[in-house]
């Protein structure tokens, strides 16, 4: 107990406290919050627009591609559909996809493919496959097995059993999860932009590093508006389609 207290004391003393920097920081915080109160959509509008559109296309492409890839992995990771070895391989692959936070994956892809939205799309695809694949597998493992048995007794092949017995049962889940992931991907596209993976996040970092807090405020407001719009649209789609 005493040694812990001693350690904390020593550790605290090693952190330099510079009153000058704190003063400077406080005044910058003033600028920052002041800037937020005066959002400026106009000055950097071309950049903001490009960033937003880039984020939207990254989100759409990554969600669609991620969905396509996650379906085979998700089916393969369902214990009730495939033999043991396939299950282990697919579960393992999905675990790898989910192992790292998006930021780390983005840094990796930026290092591989350079700055820009391609690295961002790759990051979001990996995250989407990990997310949808795992949840899809869980949904498939919970389905009613009786219709599958019935299709088996009718001589249906494995792909037919999946299309007629499995997919109809998990379709509402797939749709709901995909809409949810669309929403997450848009928000993530802003975050991974911070490490150079394109999109509105890149515009945001640029504005920050220029101390243009009015533009930062405008971008944040737009992100909130987009997420809100996505919420409304996905709610509408859910009601229409499910």
């Amino acid at each position: 107990m005493v040694s812990v207290a001693l350690y904390l004391l020593v550790a605290a003393l090693t952190i330099e406290v510079d009153p000058g920097r704190i003063r400077e920081g406080m005044s910058r915080a003033g600028d920052l919050f002041g800037g937020w109160l005066r959002p400026d959509f106009g000055t950097r509008w071309p950049d903001i627009r490009t960033g937003l559109l880039e984020s939207l296309s990254m989100t759409a492409v990554a969600t669609a591609a991620g969905l396509m890839i996650s379906i085979p992995f998700g089916l393969g990771a369902s214990r009730n559909l495939v033999p043991g070895p396939v299950y282990v391989v697919c579960r393992g692959a999905l675990a790898v996809f989910r192992a790292f936070n998006e930021i780390i994956v983005a840094i990796l892809f930026v290092a591989m493919f350079g700055f820009g939205p391609f690295a961002g799309v790759m990051t979001l695809v990996v995250a989407t496959v990990g997310f949808l694949g795992k949840l899809l597998a869980e949904a498939v493992e919970e389905i009613d097995s009786a219709p599958l048995d019935a299709l088996t007794t009718a001589g249906a092949s494995w792909p037919s059993r999946v299309v007629f017995g499995v997919l109809p049962q998990v379709m509402p889940r797939i749709l709901g999860l995909t809409l949810y992931r669309l929403d997450i991907n848009f928000r993530e596209s802003a975050v991974i932009g911070l490490v150079g993976a394109g999109g509105i996040g890149a515009t945001l970092t640029t504005a920050f590093s220029r101390y243009e807090f009015e533009s930062v405020s405008a971008i944040l407001i737009l992100i909130i508006a987009m997420v809100f719009a996505a919420e409304v649209i996905s709610g509408h789609l859910r009601r229409r389609l499910l």
């Binding site: 219709p147 048995d149 019935a150 249906a156 299309v163 007629f164 049962q169």
Partner: protein
Amino acid sequence: MSTDRAPDGSAALKIEDLVVRYGKGEDVLRGVSLQLQRHEVVGLIGASGSGKSTLLRAIHRLVEPTAGAVILDGVNLLGLAGPKLRQARLRMGMIFQEHALVGRLTVMENVLCGTLGRTGFWKSVRRNFEPNDVEEAFRLLERMGLDGLEDRRCDELSGGQKQRVGIARALIQHPDILLVDEPTASLDPAASARIMILITEVCAEDGLSAIINLHDVPLARRFCPRILGLHAGRIVFDGPPSALNDEILTQVYGEEALESYVGVRSTETRVGD
């Protein structure tokens, strides 16, 4: 309903010494042998856990038998795999206890699922079923009293209607044999009787053989000219309903469970005999 036990002994289905063991546990089926003649309707009775469902599922290889043989037209199904097994399965229509329909598909789609063993994958995905099959599906729905319901989703149907869709799905396979697992389990007595009448009529009209699992002994007596009693994975009775006396029912169900299955002692009523 004829019990045409063909003199040449041409069995529709022969089961030899079928054993099913789940994991390292006890055997669920301990060497079941039986012959199902053409056009013969057999009722299979037994307490729950006696292996009735397992027997039907093992015949269809939904459960993999540990040993024995299931012989359909001289071919042992246990030696088949892939397309050959699927072709063999088409010839044995199975009707399930809880309908086993895909609730989110329409009645028509569920019936056409019975043709998946002979319809190509891509054709079925595009819902491009053979016109003959579609026509037949309409005819079967009419025969089941479900005409006009083809576009309804199956989860909107009543229990009895669902069971009829299940029967139509089995029949569109063009089976020689029906394997029927507790068709009346979730139905009230009147609906139960109607479903049994329907199944036995279909068997008579189309010349099918059937093995029908029934938990309800009076129903078995009424509709099945031959009854098999299964106890602890072994067949302990094989004969006509008239031979089914208290002693045998006790053998099949065990003394304490007898009342709950038979309801009334066999000597008191013979429903529909």
